[in-house]
């Protein structure tokens, strides 16, 4: 007997699927990857059932293929996400997100007295703790941690 898996979010022919996103962070993932500007179909779902996590979010972006260091940035808001590349409806590759060593541009430094919050400066951080998500600002050298993390 074949089991029919009902997909709540339809399959895509070619592109990238990001699975196991915490539901509340789906829109942040979309923002980090600039998918609001995508020209092709983007599907997303939140509060979907997940065996692993109870509830999860998912994003499927048609004809979008990301560079590793680009897509790994989503580790900031979706540390357990699975990244799946789809070609002709088939899974090409499947891997777990891995936070990169440095983060550019997307995070705001939490230090209000940091120069990046006063001048037009692209923020830059060194990831000093990938588990707990701790970022050291390249400019003011202060640590921005998970609870102070704002995506700009």
């Amino acid at each position: 007997m074949t089991q029919i898996k009902e997909l709540k979010v339809s399959a895509i022919e070619n592109g990238t699927v990001i699975d196991h996103i915490p539901s509340k962070n789906v829109f942040q993932v979309i923002k980090i990857l600039h998918l609001e500007e995508a020209g092709d179909m983007v599907l997303f779902g939140t509060n979907l059932e997940s065996k692993k996590y109870g509830k999860k979010g998912i994003v499927k972006a048609s004809n979008k293929f990301f560079k590793k260091h680009e897509i790994n940035k989503i580790g900031l808001v979706a540390p357990n996400a699975t990244l799946i590349v789809i070609k002709d409806f088939q899974v090409k590759t499947k891997e777990v997100v891995k936070l990169p060593d440095t983060i550019e541009d997307i995070v705001k430094c939490f230090n209000p007295n940091c120069i990046t919050n006063h001048e037009k400066v692209t923020t830059r951080f060194t990831v000093v703790d990938k588990e707990a998500v701790k970022l050291r600002c390249h400019y003011c050298e202060k640590i921005t941690d998970k609870k102070n993390l704002i995506i700009r």
Binding site: T116, H118, C140
Partner: protein
């Protein structure tokens, strides 16, 4: 070190720092040399600072260099809303090296990325003040003959004092033992302690000043600011426990010296000034030699 900006003390390796101290010794013997003839040094102080600015300007003047710049922003285009990027790019056209102090943290690092001439950080907010750190290292080495294996006490505001943070970090390159004396509210932050722990060095924390005095080679005093306390009563309670008086200095090691980044308010009683262990004014003078060494190394003249 030629053309290399100095923003954080860790921008220079231990070897480069020690080489700089050696060069500074030469300037102590002979501070008046015409090495900076025809050179222009810009001193941009977006935030006032008397000692640091005068020390840099004195260092340049003894070497025959010219100084351009400002000591506060009230009469400059910064007041008109000019960005730091534009100010730095403009001044970089007029000078060979830029010395800057800025109230925002990270300003010097940013400046070093947009400037075509090297930047020397003379203080960026609460972040770094590397030339103070170098002159502290110079003063310690000069009085103790070494930087290795010393017992160093830091006293006062260890939480907000950036000179303490940089110097602790720098001394972690050497095998020092740290004695940290502060009110509970102003303990050394864990972000700095992590450097001590990483290098597996010993440190002890105290809330009383008296008991560390006989143990140490260097007593590094800092000012405790009333504004740091949420409750003024707390300040009143502790303020006298961190004041150094001459009578407390009867049982010290013979080589012990007292350092202070200055300005002092009342944390070192004036009756200590004539004690042979008081070194803080000489320490301030050493700042001139260290800055002479730094500028000549950056300009490739040494």
């Amino acid at each position: 070190m030629k053309n290399k900006s100095l923003v954080s003390i860790s921008d220079y390796t231990k070897e480069q720092q020690l080489h700089l101290l050696d060069v500074a010794e030469g300037f102590e013997k002979n501070p008046r040399q015409n090495l900076l003839n025809n050179y222009v040094v810009a001193t941009l102080f977006f935030e006032p600072s008397t000692r640091t600015r005068l020390s840099f300007e004195s260092a340049v003047s003894y070497l025959g260099g010219k100084i351009i710049g400002f000591s506060d922003t009230s009469s400059t285009s910064v007041q008109k809303g000019e960005s730091l990027r534009d100010t730095i790019r403009t001044v970089a056209n007029y000078s060979d090296v830029i010395v800057m102090r800025h109230p925002k943290e990270g300003a010097a690092r940013f400046a070093s990325e947009v400037s075509k001439v090297p930047i020397v950080n003379a203080g960026d907010g609460a972040n770094q003040h590397p030339t103070q750190c170098l002159l502290d290292l110079y003063s310690i080495r000069k009085t103790q003959g070494t930087l290795d294996g010393l017992n160093v006490a830091f006293v006062g505001d260890l939480k907000y004092g950036r000179t303490v943070h940089s110097l602790v970090q720098a001394l972690c390159q050497f095998n020092c033992k740290f004695h940290l004396v502060s009110p509970l509210e102003l303990k050394l932050p864990s972000s700095v302690k992590v450097h001590i722990k990483e290098k597996k060095m010993e440190y002890m924390q105290y809330t009383e000043l008296e008991e560390v005095i006989p143990k140490v080679d260097i007593l590094y005093m800092t000012r405790i600011q009333k504004e740091r306390f949420a409750d003024p009563m707390e300040y009143e309670k502790i303020k006298n426990s961190f004041i150094l008086k001459n009578e407390m200095l009867q049982k010290t090691k013979s080589n012990m010296k007292i350092l202070h980044p200055l300005p002092r308010v009342n944390e070192i009683d004036e009756d200590v000034d004539d004690n042979k262990r008081a070194y803080y004014f000489q320490q301030a003078l050493n700042g001139v030699y260290v800055r002479q060494a730094l500028l000549t190394l950056i300009l490739g003249l040494k």
